[in-house]
């Protein structure tokens, strides 16, 4: 049963339920984030090109990133998607309303999203596309601003063409990895009784009613078994006439064991995220100055080589090496499961390690550069303002002696989580302990080597 070992937060905290059911909840927070987002774009375009003194760079790549990867994703899954301002203008135009439930059809061409693209591949490609330019995006405010603006415009255009949040579900490069890592989070939106949904004729959560819109993420809560594609907009909480929606607190990583929904596009997302964390660590924290120069586009041929290597590593080399691991498992355990299925299944082992690697990587620069936030809060454009009297705050790296311990701790936790996941996946394929243990060994070797690689980069 879904409710086994879970705590229904809405039952425990009625005030939370009231807040989440209120139509104004999501727009109010979105307006707040839209303000920050607008300021980030504005400062990126009009403010100082010095990244460390520009609100856009500091608040997007330090403050927001830290909040997202260290707090929101691991503990609240897709909660960022609840408040993300990027799809807001498109959605508000579609609904022709910001707060209220406006009756009638959505204002959109209502085209069908191509079936072939109903997966994470576009998000994978989008993330890699952004990632190969990341050194430039992360340091140049104007590039960050135009990137954010382009996301917003693509969101508006797709909202005009397609119903609901096609951008969030199938296109947003950030939404892809948030969805993947939300499988780990200890918070889930589900239904209390799936049978009640199955028997329910009107399916208000899909069609909408006077209290709310049909699910913008095109998900039927009644069959929801994982967090990956639930955007936590809480429209279903508002529309469900049977009061069947619950928000559960649950053990970390519960969704990793939902075998029937594992897919190759998600598996590749896991490879890409792990590979990018490894490559970013090498480029930004490693001792190879030439690599940083190449990534920073010192010359076009150098960058082309870097980009080719980057993409090849993520799409070919890392999955290829993992393929060898799966081949080894099949040799060791003489399993009859299809290679493709085993490859996809075991790839989910990399999800906890990947998230741990991103958190560890983020500690390295978030704590060191976090103090810039105070300065740019008072002088967001780098124009010599001092709005809150903090413009002169000197750069003060925080917890530099603590960072290696945090990184080792997080990576170790991620490694243990990954090993445990590998064993559980193995037990799903072979019931007995001994062959499952043997099947786990090659994966364990792989994740241990990767973890050692991270430790080598972080600890020098």
């Amino acid at each position: 049963m879904l409710t086994d070992g879970r705590i229904n937060l809405l039952e425990r905290a009625p005030l939370l339920k009231r807040v989440l059911k209120a139509r104004a909840f999501q727009p109010v927070v979105m307006l707040l984030t839209l303000f920050v987002f607008t300021l980030a774009i504005l400062t990126g375009i009009a403010g100082t090109p010095a990244g460390s003194r520009n609100f856009g760079i500091i608040f997007v790549w330090i403050v927001w990133w830290a909040l997202l990867i260290v707090v929101l994703v691991p503990f609240f899954g897709r909660l960022w998607c609840t408040v993300c301002p990027i799809p807001a203008p498109g959605e508000w135009l579609q609904r022709r309303a910001i707060v209220q439930r406006r009756p009638g059809k959505l204002w959109t061409r209502g085209l069908r999203w191509p079936h072939r693209l109903k997966n994470m591949w576009l998000q994978n490609i989008g993330f890699l596309g952004v990632a190969v330019f990341s050194t430039i995006i992360l340091t140049r405010p104007s590039v960050t601003a135009w990137l954010l603006l382009s996301f917003l415009l693509v969101g508006v255009v797709l909202s005009a063409l397609y119903k609901n949040r096609v951008f969030c579900r199938y296109v947003c490069p950030v939404g892809g990895f948030i969805g993947l890592y939300s499988l780990l989070s200890p918070v889930e939106l589900r239904v209390a009784d799936p049978d009640a949904c199955a028997d329910h004729k009107t399916k208000d959560c899909i069609t909408g009613n006077e209290y709310g819109y049909g699910c913008p993420w095109m998900v039927f809560p009644g069959s929801l078994t994982r967090n990956a594609y639930c955007g936590m907009c809480f429209e279903c909480l508002k529309t469900c006439p049977k009061n069947n929606i619950v928000l559960n607190l649950r053990p970390f990583g519960s969704d990793l064991m939902v075998a029937k929904e594992r897919r190759l596009d998600e598996a590749y997302k896991a490879f890409i995220m792990l590979g990018c964390a490894l490559l970013y660590s090498a480029v930004l924290l490693g001792p190879w100055g030439w690599l940083k120069s190449w990534a920073n586009m010192d010359t076009l041929p150098h960058w082309a080589l870097y980009a080719t290597g980057f993409v090849t590593f993520n799409l070919v080399l890392l999955p290829g090496l993992f393929g060898l691991v799966v081949w080894l498992i099949r040799r060791v355990t003489r399993q009859q499961h299809p290679f493709h299925q085993m490859f996809v299944d075991y790839a989910y082992t990399l999800i906890p390690l990947g998230l741990a690697a991103w958190i560890a990587f983020s500690f390295g620069f978030v704590l060191v550069n976090g103090s810039y936030a105070l300065a740019v809060l008072s002088d967001p454009f780098g124009w010599g303002w001092n709005l809150f009297g903090t413009a002169g705050t000197p750069w003060t790296p925080l917890g530099t002696s603590l960072i290696p311990f945090l990184q080792v701790g997080v990576l170790t936790a991620g490694l243990l989580f990954a090993l445990n996941t590998a064993y559980k996946i193995a037990r799903q394929q072979v019931v007995n302990h001994r062959p499952a243990f043997l099947a786990t060994l090659p994966v364990a070797g792989f994740v241990v080597v990767v973890t050692l690689g991270f430790l080598r980069l972080y600890l020098g």
């Binding site: 104004a24 727009p27 307006l31 839209l34 303000f35 607008t38 300021l39 504005l42 009009a46 100082t48 090109p49 010095a50 990244g51 460390s52 003194r53 520009n54 203008p89 508000w92 309303a97 910001i98 707060v99 209220q100 967001p380 454009f381 780098g382 124009w383 010599g384």
Partner: protein, 334 residues
């Protein structure tokens, strides 16, 4: 009620998407300058390869306070304004702004320039402040004549030529030991000192080796090394410690990158210049050099050598102080 909520939300969206940009840009570009007690001029500093100062020329009215705000857009720059204003804003780190409010009391031309080695073309990083008389904006102060340079030209001295070295072989004089001003100070009272050598103008227009020849004619019993010590003393005795310290600061800011902190011709940018920078610490070079030629080279720059002109940055007094500081580099000061 619902419509009111919706209208409020719509108003808030408008406020965010339009109000924030209008408020921020309006404040920065209109309200702030309009309400400031002085006119604000924003000057962005980039390495010369990316454009240098922007704007690189500003015009300000005489008698009105003006605030110059320098913002570094890329790397750490150093900002100073001259000549004769004694304004040094120090380092401006990327994204930081340093400002100064000035009131110019007469028409003229000043230069703001970078004092930190920011790029290979660092020395090109300059901008001009043209101070005009609002009552007579067309009036431009005539360029101040420089009698020292004019006299050198009249004398037929090629200021751009190589000086101080054996021009035929491109080598400098080799001394067994560096001249010591300290020893010269001890010897000077025991020797006959020709009157020319006590004349400051003569000293500025002649080389120490010419002084040594003159001393030798009057003191045949002395060794050339002793006479070089005396010349070293005579060439360094006039400068006060305060002058030397100020000149040293100018040297470190503007000359050391190429000529080296101790005048060895081995500064961090020495390899990037068209001609190898002169080593002031080499007494063999300096003892064949004239002070007025050094002065002229500093103020005019060296044609084809990448030596910039500093005549727009330093006053004549500052330039002479710098020359006097240069004489302390090849000799031990008294």
């Amino acid at each position: 009620m619902k419509n009111r909520t919706e209208l409020l939300a719509l108003f808030t969206v408008g406020l965010i998407l339009l109000g924030v940009p209008v408020a921020a840009l309006g404040y920065q570009h209109w309200l702030r300058p309009a309400t400031a007690h002085a006119r604000i001029i924003d000057i962005e500093a980039r390495i010369p390869e990316d454009g240098g100062f922007g704007p690189d020329a500003v015009t300000v009215p005489m008698g009105e306070p003006v605030t110059l705000r320098f913002a570094s857009m890329d790397v750490t720059h150093g900002i100073a304004i001259g000549p004769g204003l004694d304004i040094d804003l120090g380092h401006v780190d990327p994204g930081k702004v340093e400002e100064i409010t000035l009131t110019f009391d007469q028409p003229g031309t000043y230069t703001y320039y970078c004092t930190t080695w920011c790029s290979p073309d660092h020395w090109r990083m300059r901008g001009t402040i043209q101070v005009i008389d609002p009552d007579n904006p067309a009036f431009v102060l005539p360029a101040q004549s420089d009698l020292v340079i004019e006299r050198l030209i009249q004398e037929g001295v090629d200021i751009d030529a190589v000086h101080g070295a054996d021009q035929e072989h491109g080598e400098t004089l080799a001394f067994a030991r560096p001249p010591s001003a300290e020893q010269g100070a001890a010897l000077v009272d025991t020797l006959v000192i020709p009157t020319e050598l006590t004349d400051r103008e003569w000293g500025r227009s002649h080389t120490p080796m010419q002084a040594v020849e003159l001393l030798a004619a009057h003191n045949p019993q002395s060794t050339e090394a002793d006479l070089r010590d005396v010349a070293a003393y005579l060439w360094t005795q006039d400068a006060s410690l305060e002058t030397l310290l100020e000149a040293e600061a100018l040297y470190n800011q503007n000359c050391a990158a190429c000529h080296g902190q101790y005048g060895g011709g081995d500064g961090p940018a020495a390899d990037t210049t068209a001609e190898k920078p002169v080593a002031f610490a080499d007494p063999g070079y300096m003892f064949e050099m004239r002070s007025d030629v050094l002065y002229a080279k500093i103020r005019r720059g060296g044609m084809g050598t990448d030596m910039p002109n500093f005549g727009t940055l330093f006053t004549q007094e500052e330039t002479w102080a710098l020359v006097e500081y240069l004489w302390t580099l090849p000799v031990a000061a008294p």
